[in-house]
């Protein structure tokens, strides 16, 4: 905290000084000095900080809040911010009858929106959020998440080791939520228009499909372009799509700028993408397995694939809000959603990989072969092919301070791509 404060003061003094000189200089200093604010790696940082590169010197404001010791009587309500498809009646209804906690859902279309909702609902409107790895650190370092007592969630002990205490939701041994599920962002295509399945992301950059492409309206999409460039333009030297130096970042942004004239619609909500496929407004695009399974259920000719270049993906967490108004119901939800049966149900319905290692047999019971299909039996090797979303920080994993931070991703997405 001390480092953080000092930096901020120094930055403001600098900005003020320059403001006296000229407007341009002042604005530049505060406009592009974003790395300073995300707390660059200090000399004293431990080796474990490499996982949370760039956050050394920051502390979680809520780290010392007392955790719940015993789950009491339910409050009757539970207000959740979730991805579309995460609160399916098939597992929400049984929870409501079991616990008497009525779930009120607020769906968010992007990680940024989740961060924003948690901040503005920080007064205690929301209890939990099903945020992804690229949002978690921003939520908890902003002081909007509450420590969680994992002893009260016995089913979480069966999670795969990678999701027991992942760096995106556990800081210095303090958990701020319970890990949920993970999966890839897939390439979706209309099987009527693609008789042979595409095997590469290049179809999304191909002018042959001009006006028939849809991609998410989300700055993290720059990582998709970077992942594609990592494989197709090795000369750029990209090793991690979330840790880009300025030239690598610019290459990814200009690839997306070239893609823009080909794009019919940047979709914000999953339901938008679904109806655009159904109406024939688009025939190919980037999306989530949820859209694929929904369209399949509607008997729409949709195909999906993780192309040869690999894919970006997400690992989600049900995070507890700092001022959750219904903590008992929230703990009941964490207990419930971590059980192998419910994990299996969500994995099969949504099309993602469960965190609970015991979910496999339940998945096959729900849909034969689904355990292998969603890699719930061998997640380690599959995990290596997916670049999970994380917040891009100024400090790269190698400790150098030349990576482009997320704030610049947002600016580039809004001013150079769109």
């Amino acid at each position: 905290m001390q480092i953080f404060t000092r930096r901020r003061t120094a930055q403001s003094a600098l900005a003020a000084g320059l403001a006296a000189l000229s407007l341009t200089a002042a604005a530049c200093s505060s406009g592009s000095s974003t790395p300073a604010a995300s707390g660059t790696g200090s000399a004293g940082s431990s080796s474990s900080a490499s996982q949370q590169a760039g956050t050394a010197g920051l502390t979680v404001p809520t780290a010392n809040l007392p955790v719940l010791q015993k789950v009491g009587k339910g409050e009757g309500q539970l207000n959740l911010i979730a991805w579309e498809g995460y609160l399916d009646p098939s597992w929400v209804k049984p929870f409501e009858t079991q616990t008497g906690c009525t779930i009120n859902a607020k769906y968010a279309g992007s990680s940024d929106e989740m961060v924003s909702l948690m901040k503005n609902g920080g007064g205690g409107q929301y209890d939990m959020v099903s945020s992804s790895g690229d949002a978690d650190l921003r939520i908890l370092y902003a002081g909007d998440a509450h420590p969680v007592n994992m002893n009260l969630i016995p089913a979480a002990k069966d999670f795969f080791p990678a999701f027991q205490a992942p760096s995106f939701n556990t800081i210095n041994g303090v958990h701020y939520g319970v890990s949920l599920q993970w999966g890839p962002n897939v390439l979706m295509y209309n099987t009527k228009d693609f008789t042979t399945a595409p095997t590469t992301w290049s179809v999304l950059y191909n002018s042959k499909y001009k006006g028939q492409i849809t991609v998410p309206d989300n700055p993290i999409q720059i990582a998709d372009a970077a992942l594609y460039l990592e494989k197709t333009k090795p000369s750029l030297g990209i090793t991690d799509p979330y840790e880009l130096t300025q030239p690598q970042f610019q290459a990814a942004v200009s690839l997306l700028a070239q893609q823009k004239p080909l794009v019919k619609k940047y979709w914000a909500l999953a339901s938008e993408e679904i109806s655009d496929f159904q109406n024939g407004n688009v025939i190919v695009g980037a999306g989530w397995p949820y859209q694929v399974s929904t369209l399949k259920t509607a008997k729409f000719p949709i195909g999906s694939t993780v192309p040869a270049e690999g894919a970006t993906g997400w690992a989600d967490t049900w995070m507890l809000a700092a001022k959750a108004p219904h903590p008992n119901c929230a703990y009941m939800w964490m207990q419930y959603i971590s059980t192998p049966q419910v994990q299996a149900k969500q994995a099969v319905t949504y099309g993602e990989t469960p965190d609970n290692a015991k979910a496999c047999p339940y998945m096959d019971k729900l849909q034969a072969g689904s355990c292998a299909e969603f890699h719930a039996n061998a997640p380690a090797s599959y995990l290596a092919s997916i670049s999970l979303w994380k917040t891009p920080l100024a400090t790269c994993d190698n400790g150098q301070n030349n990576c482009v931070p997320y704030a610049d991703w947002v600016t580039a997405w809004n001013t150079q791509v769109k």
Binding site: R8, S12, A15, A19, K265, G280, P405
Partner: protein, 311 residues
Amino acid sequence: MTSTAGTRPKEKSQNQVTRNVWLLRLSTALWRHPWARATLLLTPPLAWFLLVYIASLVVLLVTAFWSVNPFTTNIDKIWTLSNFHAIFTTPAYLSDIGQTVGMAAAVTVTDAVIAFPFAYFMARVAAPRTRTALFVAILLPLWASYLAKVYSWLLIFTNHGFLDWVVGGLGLGHPQLIYTNWAVYAVFCYLWLPFMIIPVYGALERVPASLIEASQDLGGRTWRTTRSVLLPLVLPGVVAGSIFTFSLTLGDYITPLLVGGTSANFIGNVIYTNIGIANNVPFAAAMAMVPIVIMGIYLSGARALGAFEAL
């Protein structure tokens, strides 16, 4: 028991009398001092206006000079002009502002061109019964949900939608208007048309028939009469209507979000993305100052043209 019951009404009536006396004095005082009456009547609405409207605008103005921590998106209360600097030096924001003003102007001109003959017909040609029917036709959509209207346009424009069906049926190809700025333009023109027709109708109705007859007596043909007599008299009404069409287009972000495509970036969308998604409230506040300034300029121009007398 009886004694208490007996004294009670007496006490009550005494209280009543005292109260009546006080009320009488109060009303006399208010009658004698009109300023006191005015203060009493105007204080609640004025307080409301100051608190809700002016105060929130001031907060907006102040916020625009702050910035956010880019990592946690907490607000840093340090004075800076960086938000305004970013707006006026980033080509993308400048083109967004230009596109928004251009769209607002195009919608305003289109609505004025459509509204004038329509309002003229209503005011000077139509029989009372037709006029009522036309009024209902104009006002009815205003009572319908905004979203329902925009979504119906989405259905009209979509691939294999109504427009596609009609144009394709005539063998004229497939227009593919969905997710383009043309679609945004068409929906805006439709949405704000009633706001133009009503003031223009009002202005046309007030033009005395004798003036038109006089023009005709002096040899003015239809076009000459329209241009030299009717238009100058109706102009304040058109300008009054344009305040609505212009400002409503300037601030809307839902229509571009729903029917607009990849280049549907308007001022409202930039504000929406910065508040709802990026959580950069200071930048959104700075951006919100832009339409306020534009409308300030526009309103002073409209005042010069006498639009406020026509409202």
